[in-house]
Every structure is written in structure tokens, then in C-alpha cells.
């Protein structure tokens, strides 16, 4: 029989010993027997002998009362809750550790929470924080830190930089700093343990970073390969020339007043490994789009030109020639681009999987014919606020069997002369939607469609949604 438990507690009826079990004689007549199999859930799994009674199993977080030690059995494999289950053992009532701090359970449970929820949960108690502060729970998340949050004001009135250990523990790969100065960024680099090598992405918003600051930041933070600058008006194109590093693979610049063609020149010369470029710049012209080099022609797969009001179809010519390998292109808000520009895209960028023509008021059904004809790999198409598209355009789209996501938001034109007595409300029969219910219903031919956004589309009636849910059951349709 099993050895006596510590303190002479009544022994549990069955105690595994190297896979052999002996059952005590049972009143129901089963008699003693030996079982040579392992314990349950033990198929093809190695069986561990139980730990000696004086030591708690090392994987359990909270120390167990001694009587509970006998159950260290084969660990269930490959589950979110790894490790041997804690073992409540019968006998005199023992004080069990609160199950809500059982780390095995917590390791499984925390996957069900969003980032914001996890931030709340980390404040519950030390055990929860300890489990939560593992990098696996924060992968892909970027903390946004405002300048004022970076300092504690001491009783003496002085400012001290906050302790960022809690961020280092979670292994964030990227940070977004808002409203920071050159000095703040230097303090961040000095005070964050992982700043020199561990940070891969930096985003600066509405900050006063200067050319010198940019240079220091990229020089010191050697791990940064993704950079975003938004609303930063104190650096110039000269700053880009002096600070951009060849290791950068992703760059996004938006709403920075000093960015124009020379910025693209710097980008094209200094970033041979650029995979993704996002540019929102009112003053960039067509010529700059010819600056991209052969290296970028090879490596750049995503180009977003957002509200680049000066870009015309000539600019598009330059793009399709210098960046032939694009798989994602956005011309959102490039209001001078017309159907001819889209024709060039369709003919030349055959690898495109995503195309965004939103807020291009000159795009008509013709553009959609070109797209449907030539872009056979297109999976995502954004046509928000393309107010000239009609049912004809929809019929072209309905032939694109590769489409998975389609955005047709706010495509309705408000009619100039509403019928007498009726206000031009959305859905009003007095409005003349160019995308009618019938036209939209043709989209059911897109069997691969997973997402369809029809916000503010008067033709999107409840009947239409019902029709979609019947014929495109896998598609998420949003109104």
C-alpha cells in the first residue's frame, strides 16, 4: 500500500507509484488489483513518479498544504493550462489556495481578454500581474505614452522619469510617443532598458522632434525598423537625409508640414530595404514618384499615397513603372486621379491584392471595368465615397471571384433637387441612389467575400441584408 502521508493523514485510496496502482479492498467486492496503465489522460505520455511528500511540486505557484502533495501525477500535455493539476486530496478539510490565483488557470484564461481588459486585470493582485506580464500576452500591441505621463513630479518639485520596468517585462516591440520633445525622447532612450536593441517600431505623434533629435533617436535605437512620424512639424527634409537608416523596412509620414519631393528623394536613396511606405503629403508632386530606385522596385510591396492632392495620372505612371511589385496600393484622397490612372494600375500592377480608391471623386464605372478585367488577384477593394459608381460598376465587380473585402461606404450622392415635400434623408425614396438594391444584390456572386461594408448606402435595405445572409453566409455585412 502507499506509504503513510505526512502527519499520519488517512491515505488516499489510490496512489500511483511508477504507474502501478494498488487498490485497497472495496466493500463493493472489486478486490485489490494492480493496474499497469498510467493514469487517465496519459495515453502515450510519460508518467512521472510523484514528488516526495516533503516538497511541493515546483510548478505550482502557491505553496500547498502538505496533505495535498500526494497527487503529483502525469502532466496533461499541450493544453493552455500546462503542468500537473493541483491536487485536492480527501481527508480532513485542508485550506486550499484560492483557485482564482492558480497560475495554470490564469495562463489559460487571460487569452480571452483584450489589451485594455488585460491592463485592468494586471491591477488586481500580484499573482495576476505576474502571469499577465509575460510577452506572449502583449504581442503586436503598442503602448501610447503621452509626454506628461513620462514624468513623476517629486515633492521637491523636480521631475523624474517614470519607471518603465513594467513595460520592459511585457516585451513591447513598439512604442508610440505623443507630444514629446527631443529631450523627452532622449530621456526615454536612457530610461527604458530595452531601448537600444529591443524596440522595433517607433511612432511619434504631434511631437516637436527636430532634425537633431531624429538623428539621435535612430542612431541610438538600433533595433528600430519601423518608423512613423505624424503631425511633426519641426523636422525638415534635411533631417531625413541625415537620419534615415538602411535597416528601415517600414516608413509612414503624415501631416508633417516640411515634407515634399525632397523627402521622397531621401527615402529612395537611403532605404533600399523599404517594404512599406505610407505618405500623406499635400505638396508631393508627380516627379517625386519617379525617384524610387531599382532596389525599392524589388522590395517595396505596399505604397499608400493619402490625400496627395498634387498627384495626377502622370504620377501613377511613375509609380507603376518604378514599383512594379506592389501588392497593395492606396490612392485614397488623391483627387486628381481619374479612370485612366486606374487603367494604368490595372494593366501594370498585376500582383495587386489590395487597392484603395476611396475619396477619389473622379473614379467612375470605367475604372471598375479595368479593375475587374485585369486584377485577378485582387482581394480587397475600397471604394468609399466614390460617388459616381453605379449598378454598372457593381456588375463588373460581381465577376471578381477573388474579392474577399469590399467597401462601398458613403457612395450615395445627395440629390441636388429633392422631390417636393421630402427631405433628402438617407433611405428616402426621393434620393436617387446610384447603387440600387438590385445592383447590390448582384454581389452575391462573390462567393469568397468575407467582408462587405455598405454604410450609408440607401440601396442597402433590410431585405438586401437578409438576402446576403442567405446567399453569402460566411460574409460579414456591415451597414
Amino acid at each position: 500500500m502507499s506509504s503513510p502521508g505526512v502527519d499520519g493523514d488517512p491515505k488516499p485510496p489510490c496512489l500511483p507509484r511508477n504507474g502501478l496502482l494498488k487498490l485497497p479492498g472495496q466493500p463493493n467486492g472489486l478486490g485489490a488489483a494492480s493496474i499497469t496503465k498510467g493514469t487517465p489522460a496519459a495515453k502515450n505520455r510519460p508518467c512521472q513518479p510523484p514528488p516526495p511528500p516533503t516538497l511541493p511540486p515546483p510548478s505550482l505557484a502557491s505553496p500547498l498544504p502538505r496533505a495535498a502533495l500526494a497527487g503529483g501525477l502525469c502532466p496533461p500535455p499541450g493544453l493552455p493550462l500546462g503542468g500537473p493539476a493541483s491536487a485536492p486530496v480527501p481527508g480532513p478539510p485542508v485550506e486550499r489556495p484560492p483557485l482564482a490565483t492558480d497560475e495554470k488557470i490564469l495562463n489559460g484564461l487571460f487569452w480571452y481578454f483584450s489589451a485594455c481588459e488585460k491592463c485592468v486585470l494586471a491591477q488586481v493582485c500580484k499573482a495576476w500581474r505576474r502571469v499577465l506580464y509575460q510577452p506572449k500576452f502583449w504581442a503586436g500591441l503598442t503602448p501610447v505614452l503621452h509626454a506628461k505621463e513620462l514624468y513623476n513630479v517629486l515633492p521637491s518639485g523636480e521631475k523624474e522619469f517614470v519607471n518603465l520596468q513594467g513595460f520592459a517585462a511585457r516585451g513591447f516591440e513598439g512604442f508610440c510617443l505623443v507630444g514629446v520633445s527631443d529631450l523627452d525622447i532622449c530621456e526615454f532612450i536612457d530610461n527604458y532598458a530595452l531601448s537600444k536593441k529591443g524596440v522595433k517600431a517607433m511612432s511619434l505623434k504631434r511631437s516637436t522632434i527636430t532634425d537633431a533629435g531624429l538623428e539621435v533617436m535612430l542612431e541610438q535605437m538600433q533595433g528600430v525598423v519601423r518608423l512613423e512620424l505624424s503631425g511633426c512639424n519641426d523636422f525638415t527634409e534635411a533631417g531625413l537625409w541625415s537620419s534615415l537608416s538602411a535597416r528601415i523596412t517600414s516608413l509612414s509620414v503624415s501631416d508633417c508640414i516640411n515634407v515634399a519631393d525632397d523627402a521622397i528623394a531621401a527615402i529612395s536613396q537611403l532605404l533600399p530595404n523599404l517594404a512599406e511606405l505610407s505618405l500623406q503629403a499635400y505638396h508631393v508632386t508627380d516627379t517625386a514618384l519617379a525617384y524610387f530606385t531599382a532596389r525599392q522596385g524589388h522590395s517595396t510591396h505596399t505604397l499608400r499615397l493619402l490625400s496627395c492632392w498634387e498627384i495626377t495620372n502622370h504620377g501613377v505612371v511613375n509609380v507603376v513603372h518604378s514599383l512594379p511589385n506592389l501588392t497593395a496600393l492606396s490612392l485614397s484622397g488623391c483627387s486628381k486621379v481619374t479612370d485612366d490612372g486606374v487603367e494604368l494600375v490595372a494593366e501594370n500592377l498585376r500582383k495587386l491584392r489590395s487597392l484603395d480608391l476611396s475619396w477619389c471623386p473622379r473614379i467612375t464605372d470605367m475604372a471598375l471595368e479595368y479593375v475587374a478585367c485585369d486584377l485577378h488577384r485582387l482581394e480587397e477593394l475600397v471604394l468609399d465615397r466614390c460617388v459616381r459608381i453605379t449598378d454598372t460598376g457593381l456588375s463588373y465587380l460581381s465577376t471578381m471571384s477573388s474579392l474577399r473585402s469590399l467597401y462601398l461606404r458613403w457612395c450615395c450622392q445627395v440629390p441636388a433637387f429633392p422631390a417636393l415635400g421630402l427631405s433628402p434623408a438617407v433611405g428616402s425614396p426621393a434620393g436617387c441612389p446610384l447603387l440600387t438594391t438590385t445592383g447590390l444584390s448582384g454581389l452575391v456572386q462573390l462567393q469568397e467575400l468575407e467582408e462587405l461594408e455598405l454604410t450609408n448606402c440607401p440601396g442597402a435595405t433590410p431585405e438586401l441584408f437578409k438576402y446576403f445572409s442567405q446567399h453569402l453566409p460566411r460574409c460579414l455585412v456591415i451597414e
Binding site: 489522460a41 495515453k43 500526494a70 493552455p80 485536492p88 487569452w111 488586481v124 513594467g166
Partner: protein, 154 residues
């Protein structure tokens, strides 16, 4: 679905159950071994509930092998399971442990989701409803609060 031979399982208090519903991975083969398989980690009361759940779900298709280290949804608990899991918190946690130990993925999933749905509100409220002692010092509490503000704004 093939009928499993009747197998005997013995819980932590010695009680023996004969089970012919399909419980995967009990390490049984057909050697005709009639001796009960011991489950020293599972109390009889809990095991009864487990059997009840398994019996109701015995015709379920096998759960998909999804990536376990990925964010998950909690709003898809079937109504029967919701009613079934309206139990004491202690029992709910015991069910999680049992489902984990017995490797019953479906039960583990719904019990976890049920607990997750109970974890709502501010951290103080969570402490109260789960009887967790707040063990931060005042300083630590301020620190952990500060370093978790960033999620509130996008």
C-alpha cells in the same frame, strides 16, 4: 460513432463510476481490463457534472485544433452550457481543473469562457467577487496603475 466499452473510473473519494460515453484519452485499450481507472484528482461530485456534460455533448464534432495562444471570443457559449454552468464559483474552478486533467477540450473551453465573462468591471470589483486579497503596497498600486493607463486611448 462507435460505442465505447463500459469503463470504470474511480474518483478521489473511492466512488466508482461506470461510463460508456466517449471520454477521449483515458488511456484505455481493449485488454479487457476491468479494474477501475483511478482519478485521484477528481472529486465524485465534479466528475458527475463532467459526465453529464460529456453525455449531452457526445455527438459533437471534434473541436477544431485552433491556435491556443491567440485571442479568443467568449460570446458563443451554447444555452445548455450556460445553464449547466450556473454553479458555485468553487465548482466552476474545479470543473476547469477537471476538464484540463481529463483533457476534455470542449468543456475546458466553455468553463474558461464562463469564468472570463464573470471577470468584469474594475480591478477592485474583481478582487471582491473572487475573494482575492489585494497584496500591492500603496506604492506598487500607484505604479501598476500608471503603467496600465496607456490602453485607454487609441
Amino acid at each position: 460513432m462507435q460505442t465505447m466499452p463500459s469503463i470504470k473510473l474511480q474518483c478521489s473519494n473511492g466512488e466508482i463510476f461506470g461510463v460508456d460515453t466517449m471520454l477521449e484519452d483515458l488511456g484505455m485499450d481493449d485488454e479487457g481490463d476491468n479494474d477501475p481507472v483511478p482519478l485521484p484528482n477528481v472529486k465524485a461530485a465534479i466528475f458527475k457534472k463532467v459526465i453529464q456534460w460529456c453525455t449531452h455533448h457526445k455527438h459533437d464534432p471534434p473541436p477544431p485544433t485552433d491556435d491556443e495562444n491567440k485571442e479568443k471570443w467568449t460570446d458563443d457559449i451554447p444555452v445548455w452550457d450556460q445553464e449547466f454552468l450556473k454553479v458555485d464559483q468553487g465548482i466552476l474552478f474545479e470543473l476547469i481543473l477537471a476538464a484540463n486533467y481529463l483533457d476534455i477540450k470542449g468543456l475546458l473551453d466553455v468553463t474558461c469562457k464562463t469564468v472570463v465573462n464573470m471577470i468584469k468591471g474594475k480591478s477592485e470589483e474583481i478582487c471582491k467577487s473572487f475573494n482575492i486579497k489585494i497584496d500591492f503596497t500603496e506604492e506598487e498600486e500607484v505604479q501598476v496603475c500608471k503603467e496600465n493607463q496607456w490602453c485607454e486611448e487609441k
